[in-house]
Subunit: 235 residues, 2 copies
Amino acid sequence: MNDSDVALPDAEPLAAVVDLGTALRELIEVSVTTTVHPAEVRTAADLVRQVTERLAVARRPASQLSALDDPSTGRRVFNPVSGPGNGMAPPLRLRRAEDGLVGEATLGVAYEGPPSYVHGGMSALLMDQVLGDTAAAAGVWGMTVHLELDYRGPLPVGEKLAFRGRVAETTGRKSLIVGTIALAAAPDEPLVEARGLFVLPRQEKLTTIFGGITDASGEHRPPSRATDATAVEDE
Amino acid sequence: MNDSDVALPDAEPLAAVVDLGTALRELIEVSVTTTVHPAEVRTAADLVRQVTERLAVARRPASQLSALDDPSTGRRVFNPVSGPGNGMAPPLRLRRAEDGLVGEATLGVAYEGPPSYVHGGMSALLMDQVLGDTAAAAGVWGMTVHLELDYRGPLPVGEKLAFRGRVAETTGRKSLIVGTIALAAAPDEPLVEARGLFVLPRQEKLTTIFGGITDASGEHRPPSRATDATAVEDE
C-alpha cells in the first residue's frame, strides 16, 4: 500500500473494499439473528452511524463509476449480486463450464422469505445476474427485456446452492438465456428454472440511457458490453 | 424501555431493531460510494467487525422466528424487501389502494446494475414481494410458483419509484397477481410489468416444508397465511 492517490485500481484499494464488503455482509447476517438486549442493539446502531460518518466525508456521484470498476473488462465491484464490495451481495461468483457458467452460493437468514427458506424474489435477483453474466461471457451482453421463473421447490437458507446458466439462442442483438438453481448436493434436480431475454440496446439508445456516465477520471464511459461480468472468474 | 427480558414484541425492541436496520442501510449505501483512502476503508471494516462481535454473543437459529415476528399478523421485521430491520431492504412499504396495494421506494447506488440504473433482478425481487403481499392482503396468500417480468425501460437509481399490485384472478388455492413499477412522477407509465402465480401449499406440504419452525418461545409455528404482509401499513 502507498499513500499516493491512485487513479487505476490496484491491489490494496480493491482488497480494502472487499474487506469492508465482507465485514458488512457478516454484520447484516448477525443483525437479523441477534437476540441481544435492545440497549445493545441501540449501541450497535450508534457505532454503525459513526462508521458511516467516517466514510461519508468523500463520495462519488451515481453518474460516476467507481475507480475500481473497469469498463474494459466489465469489472463491477459493487454489484448487489456478484460484487464482493457490496455487503448485500452473497456474493455470487461464477466460472466458465462446458456449456455456460456455473457457481455456488450459500444464502443466510438475511435473504429469507418464508421461514427458513430463501425469498422467492431473491432467486429472481440472482438468476437475472446469472443469465446476464452468461450472455456477457458468451459475448452477447444486453439489458434484461424479459425474465421468467418457475419455482419447483423452496431453497433452504444456509445450504449451498448451485447456479447454472447457458445460452439457449442468439439472434442479432437478442439472446435467450436459460438457467437453474438447485441444491449443490443435487445440482441436476433444479428447484428454480429461469429464462431471460437480453437485448443489446441500439447505439442511439445507449447514448440516451448512459449519456451522463463517466469513469473516476471524469471521462465519458457508457457501457457497450458486459457491465456485470465481474462474477466470472478467470481460470 | 425496561431491563427485563421480554418474550413478546413491544415498542423499544422493535424500535431498536429498526434503528439498526436504518443505520446499516445508510452504511451500505455510503460504503459503495465512498472515495476515502483504502486505510480508512480498512478501519471501517475493523469497526464493523467489532459491532458484529457484540451482536453475535446471542443469536437465534434459522428455524426459530424472531421474537419481533408475529405469525398471527404476518409481521416479518427482517424481510429483505419490506423489513425495516433488514439493512438490505429499501425497505418497501405498501398500503391498501382502491384495487390492491401501492407503495413508493427510492433505491440507491447499492441496488445498481447498469451504471446509474437499478439492477434488473432487483425489480424482480421487489415485485415478488409486491405481488405476494397483494395476494396476502386479499386473503389469498401462497408461495411463488411462477414469476414473469417485462422490462420496458430502465429504473434510475435515486429517483422515487411507484409500485402497484392487484389480484387479477383467484381460483381455489391459486392466485394470479399483476403489478407494475413506474417513476413516482409518472405512475401510469409502467417501466416494469410483472405477473406472479401464487399457490397456497396443501396442508401436508406445509407440514413437510415448515415442520421445524418455532416461534421465539420454542412453540411450533408453521406459516399458514401471509408471512410477509409486514409491508402493508394499517390505515
